[in-house]
Amino acid sequence: MIVGGVQITQPGFNKIHQLRRRMGIVSQDFKLLRDRTASENVAFALEVTGHTRKEAKSKASDMLRRIGLEEREEAPILALSAGEQQRVAIARAVVNSPSLILADEPTGNLDAKTTLEVMGIFSDLNHQGTTIVFATQFTGLIKRLPYRVIHISNGQVSNGKAMDTDEVEEVKAGE
């Protein structure tokens, strides 16, 4: 299997952490550190990958501003709503400027309004050039979005076609 030009299934491949730095991961249960603030959670991803504390703090602050959480930077994670927590998780995933984001059911715990907000953030990131692999079981949500859809059933890919331009326009018109 080749990811980002790197053959990751070859025997002796031990640079998985370097590969992960080029990817962002977002999950349904956010996986945020509950004893820290929003800013500390985002900065943590930078600190443990070799950025200085000052640099990490400044980048985390920028990223939270970009996703509209500038007012909640210093708020403890448990004081944030589910939607805000998911936005912090997205900020953490993208703060290292990855070329690929893997989002596993990122809207699974969110209400409809917050889901749309989160999807908006993913859409913006995609427009900025980031590839996003988004796994969800909510087919209603998929139908609203003008992106390539791959159905997986019982571990098997059942289709993998990309929408054509007309279909995309059709979906956009329906939003």
Binding site: I16, H17, Q18, R20, F44, G50
Partner: protein
């Protein structure tokens, strides 16, 4: 590099503060274990010191047969002086021996009243060269002396030194056997505490894996935590031992002091202290390494 060190130290201390109670218990157990080991080391060190003083004082006394003509004494002295390993030989006449005994008895020298010096045998006091003041070499010299017909008996107090040497040997052996067991216990305890720490940091470690933190960033803080536990535990052990030494060993009764040949009860030399601290750090590291191998596999 400086950044990495600062990061590692900060995280290690954060981990320790986050699990303060288990860490304090571990440090306490390491301190007690290392105190036991260090106490044996101190005892062995001081007894070895006494042994050295005794060995330095070892003299061979060769008693001449009664009635040895004075004309034979001088040639015999010359022959003894040239024996291998012999440094100084002094002739002790019966009168000298009597004077020596009177000096030793002090106020009770009246006990010697009525005893004629002629009853005491003349002897040679033989001091050996430094390299010859050990059991094997002494036996060689004594073997040569026994070949001389004019000597009736030869004494050199080696039995005492041998017995004492055996005692020191047993003490050293106990020190290492007990030490070995305690050291295994330290590795086990450190490893278990660090498994607790790692478990309590599981979420954080998972996030670190996700964001691409290298194995060094994940593992090294735990190694440092183990090293700090070992260092602090070892340091406390040395501190307690020092207080024990000040409070107890410096108040050895004079009679025991005299028996110990007035040897001062020393504290461990700096080099040994450094080895003990280093040992604590190595064990702490080893404990954390074992813990990380068991629960911190890179996913």
């Amino acid at each position: 590099m400086t950044f990495f060190l600062r990061y590692v130290m900060r995280r290690a201390f954060r981990n320790m503060m986050g699990n303060l109670f288990p860490n304090l218990i571990t440090i306490g157990i390491i301190a007690v274990s290392m105190l036991i080991f260090s106490t044996f080391t101190l005892l062995a060190f001081n007894l070895t010191n006494v042994l050295k003083i005794w060995e330095d004082k070892i003299e061979v006394i060769a008693y001449l047969k009664r009635g040895t003509p004075p004309s034979e004494v001088e040639p015999l002295l010359e022959r003894t002086r040239v024996l291998e390993g012999v440094e100084i030989v002094r002739y002790i006449s019966p009168d000298d021996a009597m004077a020596f005994m009177e000096t030793k008895l002090g106020g009770q020298k009246d006990l010697l009243q009525g005893i004629q010096p002629a009853l005491l045998p003349p002897s040679f006091e033989i001091q050996l060269k430094k390299d010859y003041r050990n059991p094997t070499k002494i036996n060689e010299v004594v073997g040569h002396l026994r070949e001389t017909a004019q000597f009736e008996d030869i004494q050199y107090g080696q039995e005492w030194v041998d017995a004492f040497s055996a005692l020191v040997h047993i003490l050293r052996l106990t020190q290492w056997i007990l030490g070995g067991l305690l050291l295994i216990a330290i590795v086990f305890i450190t490893s278990n505490t660090l498994q607790l720490t790692i478990s309590s940091r599981r979420e954080e470690i998972e996030v670190m894996h996700w964001v691409g933190a290298g194995p060094g960033f994940i593992r090294v803080p735990f190694y440092v935590e183990g090293i700090i536990q070992g260092l602090v535990g070892g340091g406390l052990a040395i501190l307690f031992l020092f207080l024990l030494h000040r409070g107890l060993f410096l108040h050895v009764p004079p009679s025991v002091q005299a028996w110990l040949a007035k040897a001062p009860v020393l504290f461990l030399p700096l080099e040994t202290i450094a080895w003990i601290l280093l040992g604590g750090m190595v064990l702490g590291f080893f404990g954390s390494f074992v813990a990380s191998m068991r629960v911190l596999r890179y996913k």
